[in-house]
Symmetry: C2
Subunit: 187 residues, 2 copies
């Protein structure tokens, strides 16, 4: 960020009075431009034993498989965002939504919030951001062609909980190391 | 937002190609300026039967009581943000943190994420943003002088769960109506 969105002046970077972190500050109109993590909301839509996957028609990770998810918009609830993304990416309605996971990805300042729920009537088709959608049994999941570590970890937790028929909300941090990703689950 | 943070040009408001919502768009450098909900992270710090409260030394709601909470920063996890706010506002350390609630406040585009946990050594004192801190039993909670509806609802859920000694993660939407607030809890 180089210019003030309010008045157009050049920004400085400094720690405002009473603050403890450097911010982009406008010396002309005194606006402080905070930058905060973004929420990605999505769903694990199920239909009997199957899970709905989308093949990405957009970058990053074009052509890889994912669960329907995307950036939450202003004025939405987290569940509305998750349902909207499922509608946009897979033309699918999800019922009986329940919060399933909250993942922090501090290296990219994102928080993923995934809901589980049933796919209405088993119906889905590719939206504009998907090349293809598929309802897959556990043994058909393309583990080596999943788009993101957060999606793989969410699925592994979900399948384990489903086997035990005992679901709980998982709060996980994904840490990026030079040689890969580390997952830390809070109690 | 009036000016482009990247190049300083005047912004237009329009729906970008492939999008479905109006955005602030720069016609000079083609940057699209998305605006997204912010996360507020905080804690319900307990010490035996007591809960730690802070009296706000800042606006809004100066002089009213709240739980330690504040805006999550980039590069943090949600738990780190909650712990940092507790440290800043109450000079307190919280142990055995567990995610307790996720509240959507769509009218102000915020998502509150509160953790429960134990106050280390029962120690707390007012930070710069607090006039006072207090460890209060349930019957001493100043219900009519709490700062925010999200804090009141979080506390009521927490006290009910504590009575039953059965905690779960609550996912709640707060809707603002002309005559007050409505709370909707997801299953």
């Amino acid at each position: 960020m180089n210019y003030c969105g309010e008045c157009g002046a050049r920004l400085s970077i400094r720690i405002p009075k009473g603050d403890h972190l450097p911010r982009s500050v406008c010396d002309q109109c005194n606006t402080i431009h905070y930058q905060n993590p973004k929420i990605v909301a999505g769903c694990i839509p199920t239909w009997n034993d199957k899970i709905l996957f989308c093949k990405r028609a957009i970058e990053p990770r074009w052509g890889l498989w994912t669960l329907p998810a995307g950036f939450m918009e202003n004025k939405e609830t987290t569940a509305e965002a998750a349902a909207r993304e499922t509608r946009e990416e897979a033309n699918a309605i999800i019922e009986n939504m329940a919060l399933y996971s909250v993942f922090s990805l501090p290296h990219i300042s994102q928080v993923y919030m995934m809901y589980r729920g049933q796919l209405k009537d088993g119906l889905a088709s590719p939206g504009e951001e998907s090349l293809e959608v598929a309802l897959l049994n556990e043994d058909a999941i393309p583990w080596d062609r999943l788009a993101f570590p957060v999606i793989e970890k969410t699925l592994r937790l979900f399948l384990e909980d489903r086997r035990q028929n005992q679901y709980r909300v998982h709060n996980v941090t994904i840490l990026k190391h030079p040689d890969g990703f580390e997952f830390e689950e809070l109690p």
